[in-house]
């Protein structure tokens, strides 16, 4: 049993932390969002240069085949700085889908470009009527002699507005679900882009008679759902890591604020009722870090990964809500203003709770899983 980071992991963490410190001051982030861009292309290039983009990808395509712990190291630091760059959409989900489902040729053609930072991806899978049920796909893919035709709709597709390539899931006549490579701008695809509350971007997709070439289908597996399930669990886990980073910052900022904010002639952090609530915030953060660690180590060994992910996502979602609410409440009025960073951490935490299955959804899956002693 060993809970220490390796030297390489420690270096990676320091390197990501330095990036966040230097590039993600609150004002710099605000300017980035105000510019209307989804994120900074130069940051993304830097990620490629520093080799980070290789971490999650398979070795066969120039990746490092990093562990869950490796990926989480990056995401936790991203969470500390509310980094906007679409790690999970492009790498975990997009590249992950290509690596899991794509033919060798497709992998060859696309993944090296991902590692080089040249390709942005978006996985369009969930649909309005499906909520978090990743198996309830109503979008249809019909195979014609010389093309595929897709009809349906996808909701809240992360990073879609910036994606060079969309990966769209659809149900084939066989009943299986396949994933298709779709270039933005293809006729029959309507994209309604918007900003999310957390500053990232997403879109609703409408597919009406969307025609795709026959080689647009990712690989030849009869059903992509099992692989997509694994990818979304990975995404959920990394979102948990991000949440832990964000919560740690919220706790720290709240403690600092209450140590300096004076009311009734004293720092409000001297009030015992508030002290106990911050102690409870600390417990929430530490318990979250612990259950994240459990899930990461389970993912890197051979345990029951869905159960572990669900335990972590539901517990951390609960913590995120409480820590976010308390951070705002203890900051008082300025806590609900756009000009203070605190609220933006809370927004990201709300988004994380809503993504990849919310707390109750995961609690249900956890509760109905098998119970080893």
């Amino acid at each position: 049993m060993d809970f220490d980071y390796s030297d390489e992991q420690q270096l990676l963490r320091d390197s990501v932390a330095r990036f966040v410190r230097e590039e993600y001051a609150f004002d710099a982030r605000k300017r980035l969002i105000a510019s209307g861009q989804a994120f900074s292309a130069s940051h993304w290039s830097l990620f490629a240069e520093l080799g980070w983009l290789a971490v999650p990808l398979p070795e066969s395509c120039g990746g490092l085949d990093g562990s869950a712990v490796d990926n989480a190291i990056i995401l936790e630091e991203f969470g500390r700085g509310l980094v906007l760059e679409p790690w999970i959409p492009t790498l975990t989900l997009g590249a992950g889908a290509i690596a899991a489902l794509g033919s060798p040729a497709q992998q060859q053609a696309l993944l090296a470009r991902v590692v080089a930072g040249e390709l942005q991806l978006a996985l369009a899978h969930f649909e309005s009527a499906a909520r978090y049920d990743a198996t309830a796909i109503a979008t249809r893919a019909l195979r014609h002699a010389d093309h595929w035709q897709l009809d349906g709709g996808k909701c809240v597709v992360l990073n879609a507005p910036a994606a060079d390539l969309l990966l769209v899931s659809a149900r084939e006549a066989s009943g299986g679900v396949a994933v298709f490579l779709v270039e933005p701008g293809t006729p029959g695809l309507r994209m309604q882009p918007y900003r999310n509350i957390d500053g990232t971007m997403a879109a609703e997709l409408l597919l009406e008679g969307l025609r795709l070439p026959v080689d647009a289908r990712l690989g030849d597996q009869p059903d992509a759902l099992p692989a997509l399930g694994i990818l979304h669990d990975r995404a959920a886990l990394l979102a948990c890591a991000e949440a832990v980073g964000a919560m740690a910052v919220l706790l720290q900022k709240t403690v600092e604020y209450t140590r300096t904010r004076r009311q009734f002639g004293v720092a409000i952090g001297s009030f015992q009722a508030l002290q106990h609530r911050m102690a409870d915030m600390f417990i929430e953060v530490e318990q979250s870090r612990s259950i994240l660690m459990m899930a990461l180590l389970t993912a890197d060994s051979s345990g029951d990964i869905p159960r572990a992910v669900s335990a972590a996502k539901s517990r951390i979602g609960r913590a995120a809500r409480k820590v976010g609410q308390e951070a705002i409440q203890l900051h008082g009025g300025i806590g609900v203003t756009e000009d203070l960073d605190v609220g933006h951490y809370v927004k990201r935490l709300i988004a994380i709770e809503a993504l990849f299955g919310n707390s109750d959804w995961h609690l249900r899956r956890f509760g109905s899983a098998g119970h080893a002693a």
């Binding site: 909701c155 918007y194 609900v336 809503a354 609690l363």
Partner: protein
């Protein structure tokens, strides 16, 4: 003990319902139900309709043009308004400065200000909090220095709701010196916002709404006849408002309407386990728990009303109404975010403005749920934070 309305009360309820059915403008109702932002003009139009009916001064005594209603009538009125999705009456004029003026003002001041307030011809806002005086209101630093027939006011007020629409502001200002206790050196002053030196700068809240502001005063000259009550006795007015009239803060009827809306949306939302979210026991259990809390809160409010009817003060126990009222409302905010699912993410404020013609993202108002949630976190902070309310219960009710 009897839960039923008297025949007179039932008749009154009918009268209110009829009024709302006949007079409440359909376009405002549509905005309210669709979660659209109201304009200044919407509020004014609605309140002037009430004024014409003689129902604007809900809490005002008859002698000043008020309704003279019993607490039960007020309860019926506010319940029916909530069920009809009307806007809440903007409190600063009718709920706050009006009562202060008819209680503490001179005859001249009453004649000058009350009619415009009652008729919603003048928009008021409230200048209490300052950047360094939140829960500790008595530490406020905005100074008013007497100079002949004027006070010269310097300082900054904050969290001033709808100041961008206001024509007048009522302020707590410091007139006394440091030799006085903090509460003893404060005065209650009315200031015309058009006076030179008054500047309003907006504060954006987390959902982006332009709702609260900072109001800056730089050598603002205010005639002494705008002082309400005695100099250095303004704390009396402030305290009067705090304890005077807290019915309505529990927002029971509004929460009931929202629960009905939530149930409707949940019934249309798949749970991911076969049925709808409303059939899902995980969801249902928490919702049922919240509903029992709301029922209890409703009766806590009714008990407070009964005390008022009996001529007793609502007393500090009404801090419960503030605490539980905001807790229930905020729990409901969370439920809406939960039902929104992935559609909690999109931030598309333009689709909640009048005249939006694009494709609507997310079902109903759900894509606004996170914004509402974030905005409404303020409810447990302002008007005496819930921490201050617990202090009040501990000290004034429990004697700790």
């Amino acid at each position: 003990m009897d839960i039923r309305f008297s025949p007179q009360e039932t008749a009154f309820q009918e009268e209110v319902r009829r009024f709302l059915a006949d007079e409440y403008p359909a376009d405002i109702r549509r905005k309210m139900q669709g979660g659209l932002q109201l304009e200044r003009e919407d509020h004014v139009r609605w309140q002037q309709l009430l004024a014409r009916r003689g129902w604007a001064g809900v809490n005002w005594p008859v002698e000043h043009g008020g309704t003279g209603w019993t607490p039960v009538q007020k309860y019926i009125f506010s319940t029916e308004c909530a069920l009809a999705h009307t806007p809440r009456i903007v409190p600063f004029g009718l709920g706050m400065v009006g009562p202060v003026i008819y209680t503490f003002g001179t005859e001249e001041q009453k004649a000058r200000f009350l009619p415009d307030i009652l008729a919603s011809r003048v928009w008021w806002c409230q200048g209490y909090s300052e950047p360094n005086s939140g829960s500790d209101l008595a530490s406020l630093q905005t100074r008013a220095v007497r100079d002949g027939e004027h006070y010269v006011v310097n300082g900054t007020k904050t969290w001033t709701t709808m100041a961008q629409w206001a024509e007048w502001i009522f302020c707590l200002v410091r007139t006394g010196g440091p030799e006085l206790k903090p509460q003893a050196g404060i005065s209650f002053l009315l200031i015309d916002m058009k006076t030179p030196g008054v500047r309003v700068s907006p504060i954006r809240l987390l959902d982006g709404t332009p709702e609260v502001n900072e109001v800056h005063f730089e050598d603002v000259r205010v005639p002494v006849e705008n002082l309400i009550g005695e100099e250095n006795r303004g704390w009396t007015c402030a305290k009067y408002l705090l304890t005077h009239e807290r019915t309505g803060i529990a927002q029971v009827a509004r929460s009931r309407v929202r629960i009905a809306e939530l149930r409707k949306l949940a019934a249309q939302t798949p749970a991911g386990s076969g049925g709808s979210l409303l059939e899902d026991a995980f969801f249902l259990r928490r919702l049922a728990e919240l509903e029992t809390e709301l029922i209890a809160l409703e009766y806590t409010e009714l008990r407070t009303l009964a005390n008022l009817s009996a001529g007793k003060s609502p007393g500090p126990a009404s801090s419960i109404l503030k605490i539980k009222g905001t807790e229930v409302a905020q729990a409901l905010d969370e439920f809406f975010v939960e039902v929104a699912g992935l559609h909690a993410l999109p931030c598309v404020p333009e689709q909640f403005r009048e005249g939006f013609t694009g494709d609507h993202v997310g079902p109903g108002t759900l894509a606004a749920a996170a914004g509402v949630y974030l905005n409404n976190r303020k409810a447990s902070i302002y008007g005496g934070s819930n921490e201050i309310q617990r202090n009040i219960i501990a000290k004034e009710v429990l004697g700790l």
